[in-house]
């Protein structure tokens, strides 16, 4: 983790909440600023924002919608991960894949911070199958400020104009998504920075007892 060094004037973009990234950023010496991207319904970024501001880092806070507007100022993107697939794709908080793809299209390097115990020997080709679902109602719930304002102005509680019990209507609250390895420039682990193609090698080196395949048996 100490191998990652930021330059003076760097503009770092990070998404949602990650303790590793918070640690990494608070230990840097040069002057830089952070753009924190957050998304509904979890709004995890607020906690991260507090911690970064306590460390004295200059921060901006946006929602995922404004991403294309800020991306041209960004110099580096840091993302967290919940799991690392052996082909180098990243399973992380839903929305991370969009951030990575946008960064790639603007030629901004994307660094994923992930401990090696999160490496999985699974390969996922899409993000639906092994995902987790959050409370579907959270997707519909209006923002606190919007409903308060409505109440103040009209004197009645804001009603949903969508009936969630309607049989034509489904709510989907996914918690994770899969970022393909081609959007990732490097994976920061406690063993140093790796390219996504090397995750399988690291898995093999760390678990030599799992190497059941021996080429010599087939030749």
């Amino acid at each position: 983790m100490h191998r990652v060094r930021l330059w003076k004037g760097d503009v770092i973009l990070t998404y949602a909440k990650n303790d590793l990234i918070e640690m990494l950023l608070s230990r840097q010496e040069k002057k830089f600023r952070v753009i924190l991207v957050d998304s509904r319904p979890l709004l995890e970024g607020k906690e991260m924002l507090e911690k970064l501001m306590d460390s004295g880092i200059e921060c901006s806070y946006i929602l995922l919608n404004s991403l294309s507007y800020v991306m041209k100022e960004v110099t580096k993107v840091f993302l967290g991960a919940s799991a690392l697939m052996s082909d180098g794709s990243i399973l992380s908080r839903v929305g991370s894949a969009s951030v990575a793809m946008m960064a790639k299209s603007h030629n901004v390097p994307v660094l994923v911070c992930c401990e090696t115990y999160k490496i999985s020997n699974r390969v996922q080709l899409e993000s639906i199958t092994w995902n987790e679902l959050g409370n579907p109602e959270d997707v519909l719930s209006p923002a606190m400020t919007t409903s308060k304002k409505w109440e103040e102005e009209r004197g009645e509680e804001k009603k949903e104009n969508v009936d969630s019990s309607d049989k034509h209507f489904r709510l989907l609250n996914l918690l994770y998504d899969l970022t393909p390895s081609e959007f990732v420039s490097g994976i920061v682990t406690e063993m140093g920075i790796l390219p996504p193609t090397s995750v399988a090698v690291l898995l093999r080196e760390m678990n030599p007892q799992d190497n059941t395949f021996k080429a010599s048996e087939y030749l």
């Binding site: 191998r3 660094l111 420039s185 490097g186 193609t197 090698v201 080196e205």
Partner: protein, 338 residues
């Protein structure tokens, strides 16, 4: 020939071996500290801009990576042979063989590389690399092909390499302007360059101009090969061009754009005062300098002179190394195991 020119990392490792042989330390930790100190001193010396001329203006990356790999080897050796004296003997033996290993590495690369050069092909290269030149000279013994080489400003290394090396070996050589590279790329069948350092993601750091050549080659579908020994594998992970280790302040002052034709006519008096022809001011803003062909810029104009650039892995087809022919992603695999 070029065998007399000892590679920088080999010389560094010889110095480290000297430290080991003279050590009073009785423990591995003590020895490791002495070696770390010695390699830091060497790097400091290499970083100092005044000494850069002695090193031929080359980057210190190969030096740093060579030292680091040797130090890692020493640590691994101690884990295998816990007895201090036995370990030292093994290290000295290995270290002394290192210069042989490095020469053998060049030969190995040259022999694997010849298979890549088809008869009648046109090969483009850049900069002065002893690995690439030994590869091409070796290939010329069996195959007939031609070389296109860029001038290589500001140190005219391309012109130097072409004039002294390839012509002697009887390979038809053409020198072109650095800026003519893309224009000529369609006539070329393959590109081969050396490297100052090979970074962890399989990219390379090499003489300025290599990145542009790689992009043009990829765009026109020409294979881009890199010939480098494994001691050049560095523990660096640049994310973009500005992520390269800086050469130290003051390098910019040494920049003087020299016409490479004048390099030949002044007998290599690059940057030095040429005694015969001293021209007075010819009525323009600045008075002419004494070395003919030297461009004088107004003081307000900034000059940037990076010696090296970074070529990302996606532009590199294959790396020809003494560990074998590797794809860029295999470089990291090798480094993990080291």
């Amino acid at each position: 020939g070029e065998d007399q020119q000892v590679a920088l990392p080999v010389a560094a490792i010889k110095s480290l071996l000297g430290v080991i042989q003279r050590t009073n330390s009785g423990t591995m930790m003590g020895l490791e500290m002495e070696l770390k100190q010695a390699s830091d001193e060497m790097l400091k010396f290499a970083n100092d801009p005044f000494n850069s001329n002695m090193l031929g203006g080359r980057s210190h990356i190969a030096l740093a990576s060579g030292c680091e790999l040797f130090l890692k080897y020493i640590t691994r050796c101690f884990l295998e042979l816990p007895d201090f004296n036995e370990c030292i003997e093994q290290i000295i033996y290995r270290g002394q063989r290192f210069s042989d290993i490095s020469i053998a590495a060049k030969e190995r690369i040259a022999s694997t590389g010849t298979a890549f050069i088809q008869p009648g092909s046109t090969v483009m290269t850049h900069g002065w690399s002893s690995v690439v030149s030994s590869l091409l000279i070796q290939a010329a013994k069996d195959t007939h092909f031609e070389i296109i080489i860029l001038e290589g400003r500001p140190d005219a290394s391309g012109a130097k390499a072409a004039a002294s090396c390839y012509a002697k070996a009887g390979i038809p050589t053409t020198v072109i302007l650095d800026s003519a590279m893309a224009h000529v790329m369609e006539r070329v069948d393959m590109v081969i360059v050396g490297a100052e350092g090979v970074v962890e993601n399989g990219g390379i750091i090499n003489k300025i101009g290599t990145y542009a050549m790689a992009i043009a080659a990829k765009e026109l579908g020409k294979p881009f090969y890199v010939a480098a020994e494994s001691f050049k594998f560095a523990r660096l992970y640049p994310l973009n061009q500005s992520d390269l280790p800086t050469m130290g302040e003051g390098m910019e002052e040494h920049l003087k754009f020299v016409d490479t034709a004048c390099w030949i006519s002044t007998g290599g008096a690059y940057g030095k005062e040429h005694k015969e022809t001293t021209m007075e001011g010819d009525g323009s803003d600045g008075s002419s300098r004494s070395v003919p062909g030297l461009v004088v810029l107004p003081k307000e104009v900034k000059v940037e002179n990076s010696l090296c650039d970074y070529t990302p892995a996606k532009y590199i087809t294959l790396l020809l190394t003494d560990l074998g022919v590797l794809t860029p992603s295999a470089v990291s695999d090798e480094l993990i195991r080291l």
